[in-house]
Amino acid sequence: MGLKLQQSQHQHQHQHHSVAVKVNEQTGTKRGYTFIQANRAWLPKFLLLWVMVMAFLSTWIYKKMDADIKVRRKEVLSSMCDERARMLQDQFSVSVNHVHALAILISTFHYYKNPSAIDQETFAEYTARTAFERPLLSGVAYAERVVHSERGEFEKQHGWTIKTMQREPSPVRDEYAPVILSQETVSYIESLDMMSGEEDRENILRARATGKAVLTSPFRLLGSHHLGVVLTFPVYKSKLPTRPTVEERIEATAGYLGGAFDVESLVENLLGQLAGKQAILVNVYDITNSSDHLIMYGHQNQDGDLALLYESKLDFGDPFRKHTMICRYQQKAPTSWTALTTAFLFFVICLLVGYILYGAAIHIVKVEDDFHEMQELKVRAEAADVAKSQFLATVSHEIRTPMNGILGMLALLLDTDLSSTQRDYAQTAQVCGKALIALINEVLDRAKIEAGKLEMETVPFDLRSILDDVLSLFSEKSRNKGVELAVFVSDKVPEMVMGDPGRFRQIITNLVGNSVKFTERGHIFVKVHLAENTKPVVDAKVETCLNGGSDGGVPISDAHQFKTLSGYEAADERNSWDSFKHLVSYEESRYDASINMTVPGETSQSVTLMVSVEDTGIGIPLIAQDRVFMPFMQADSSTSRNYGGTGIGLSITKCLVELMGGHISFVSRPQVGSTFTFTADFGRCKKASFNDTKKSNTEDLPSSFRGLKAIVVDRKPVRAAVTRYHLKRLGMLAEVAGSVKIAASACGKNGSSCGSKIQPDIILVEKDLWLSVEDGGLSLRMLDWKQNGQAFKLPKMVLLATNITNVELEKAKAAGFVDTVIMKPMRASMVAACLQQVLGIGNKKQAGKDVQNGSLRSLLCGKKILVVDDNMVNRRVAAGALKKFGAAVECAESGKVALKLLQIPHSFDACFMDIQMPEMDGFEATRQIRMMESQANEQMNGSGIDKGFARKGEWHVPILAMTADVIHATYDECLKCGMDGYVSKPFEEENLYQAVTKFFKV
């Protein structure tokens, strides 16, 4: 049974174990059933078996405990019985000893003394006083041995005749044993012949023969009618020899001392002294005659527990007689409640344990079932997700192709002669189409990001020109709305950074686009600075407080205006002038200080930029703020009705920012505006590649303005800082003046005292300021200026405006401004163009496209390129395109031919490879080429010869895939088989340029 229990426990353990193992394995194996799962049908049977085993076990326990109790009961009984027997025996022997002593007393004083020292009176007195010594004896008496010849003399001496027990004069016998001395309690037996009773006679004969105390069999005593025995002790006249014979003893016998033991009261007394008197019944038997047991104490037929007896031997010192004590319990053994309860509780506990285990197993089965179900659902969900992404990617791609056709057609349509209505329709269709394409691109991006397929490029780019581009994109819209759009990049931000310009542009476009959409007044302000610069700003703030804000240079006429770009309140006060100016001044001081030494941050490989886009639009409702970055979630449904858009832009933006190693956050207050801030990690450009890429990749700002001086007249410091930033980029020195007066006075001062510091070439005046200032004053000032400054080159007055009406323009001209108005948003290139116009400096800059074209030419010129395509038309076109950029082109019509041509050593600088070709496709050809190259490289490295011969140390011809479909999967495949990139087919210049730059760096 114990074994079974162990087994079942083991089983359970095993089950748990296997569950744990399975859970660990679940990730690997899709369908694995555990032991429990496999045996689920057996579970109720297991439970039943368990219950039965436990019932059996508890019965066993009950029986065992019960047996234990019985054994103990028996032991208790035996010990009690033995105890009683021993005590009885002890008491008895004490009494016997005393009788023995009495016998010696009599022999001493009655026979050795002559005349006798003891008479009846003395004996009675003595025995009465020593009665306590013999508590068991009802009384003692002494009978003298009288032979028949002495009877007459004896009777005469005592004055009575010897009587029998029946109190009749004794008939004639050989011997008599009349009682002469007796204790008072038994005085009635005086003169009775003890030998007349059968029992007594026998006793006397045995006593005198053995010389020991002998006992009768039990009989009813004369006085008390209690059961009792008579003790007889011989008294000898003369001293016996040391080993007397029976005859000598009989001869020496003088008399007999006898006493009656009241056994009943004796035992009663004894038991009374002991504890547990009630619990057991005691019987004492005389078993001298083994066939007929004579009862000495206790009732023959007593009820009580007859099942359990204990027998103790009694030895009363008489070897002839045998006695025994039999004990038994008064009551039957009570039902063992302890055992019963224990067994029952055990059963119940085991039952519960079994049930719990069963429940657990059932639960495990259920959980596992659920788990499998969940897993299946998960797999299905994931499959669905993948399918969704694929579907999105495919569908977007498929939609894009015809959409491009539609847009192309619409563009062509617009080139034809159309009526104004037709043109309007066509334009609307084109705008819609473009929006659709933009949306599809976004969805495609989102799908790519979700599929983890979007990879960031790492190429050097000019952050500032990208920001300018984005701003120019929105300039039309913002100008129409009258919203000021401005960008400011801190000087600390490196001119060129490494990163993904396309994605950066996308982020900025998204954020600015959003801002433009939701802003009806005020401004949108993009600010870029180093992330580590935020801390000093706080310090600077403290400084301001200490200085008491002694900023006298900028008088504020409108006290309740906020010191932001446009004067409207912005959500995030970090962008207000108070902190901004410190950023600017801090940077300036640091910039000046660090011209000749390396700033600590500059040595590190990466730079973290913080970009914030602030607007004063409608803001984001508080309840919608926490789901701003969730895809397709807009503030509420009315948003999309009023403002359009899908709400996917910000979620993409967030993903992109995170891909750039940064994070995006925002502060927004409804009806005040929103400020989105994100950080992004960019790599620093190495100086070597810096100059090279800068030339080709960015629009060059003309250097002809270097060193020119300008005064910016603007009351709003943030806006002035922005203007200054753009002028600085052109290499101009700029000062800010709070009003025209200050500017004029500065100039005036210059006029009077030569050799001054500032002689402005240009004065830029904000339109708001000019309009708010009284016209007359300004023009007067201007006149003065003109008269005073005859000897000097007069500064040009240029108006800065977000929008301007014709009337205002006329007025401005009249006031002395030049024709050109710099329209906001400002961009360095646009400012440069305007200033060129104003200052009449020639524009030597070429059109952007030519520059790129030229650079592509410079990259490809003289390079030997292999074009592999099975389609001869394509081959010819590709060759033509590449030849146009000065490359020497060779063609191969299949992968095999290409392989032959590219046998090492060869002199090709690059290879353009079509992917879909019969026999050997582009991937396979590339793999083989790469294999060939690696073999060659190994050989070369192994032999160590001709190191100078190998270009760049080892063979690796750049292979670019030519493919008509530019989905991401294809690109991955290209990289996997060892290609270096891909170009779309037919060639697009920009695309070609981007792909080629990577390999042909000068």
Binding site: M409, L412, D870, N871, M872, V873, G880, F987
Partner: protein, 149 residues
């Protein structure tokens, strides 16, 4: 004929080709590739296209007449045709090729049988149009003028 008129006719004709969708931007790029080093580039490429396309179209017709049609082969041919037509900017042919390829992939004999004449038709149209355009150009050149871009 007057040279200026010829030139004008050429420009108009070319524009109409774009407008009617026979040609697309790719053809413009092709023209851009032609320069003094490569004066007959467009003509050269276009004749290559004609040559190639005629071969392919013949093969396609043959393939469709077979008992057992090898759709894989057909698909490869159509792919070729699509590639070359998109290279020269014959966009109508290209569009039809896309449809044709779908039929090939779906192994739709009826579709293929329907599509092939259409492709042939489009091809012959574009061929005629291009040839007449080249003729015009040749006339201008012969007259001593330059071809307007």
């Amino acid at each position: 004929m007057d040279l200026v008129q010829l030139q004008r006719q050429l420009v108009d004709y070319r524009t109409s080709l774009y407008h009617e969708g026979f040609l697309d931007e790719q053809f413009t790029q092709l023209q851009e590739l032609q320069d003094e080093n490569n004066p007959d580039f467009v003509v050269e490429v276009v004749s290559l296209f004609f040559e190639d396309s005629e071969r392919l179209l013949n093969e396609l017709s043959n393939a469709l007449e077979q008992q057992i049609i090898d759709f894989k082969r057909m698909d490869a041919r159509v792919h070729q045709l699509k590639g070359s037509s998109s290279s020269i900017g014959a966009q109508r042919v290209r569009q039809l090729c896309i449809v044709f390829r779908n039929y090939c992939e779906a192994q739709n004999v009826e579709g293929c049988l329907k599509c092939l004449p259409q492709v042939k038709h489009e091809y012959s149209i574009v061929k005629t149009k291009l040839e007449s355009m080249f003729q015009l150009e040749q006339q201008i050149l012969n007259a001593g003028g330059s071809v307007p871009v």
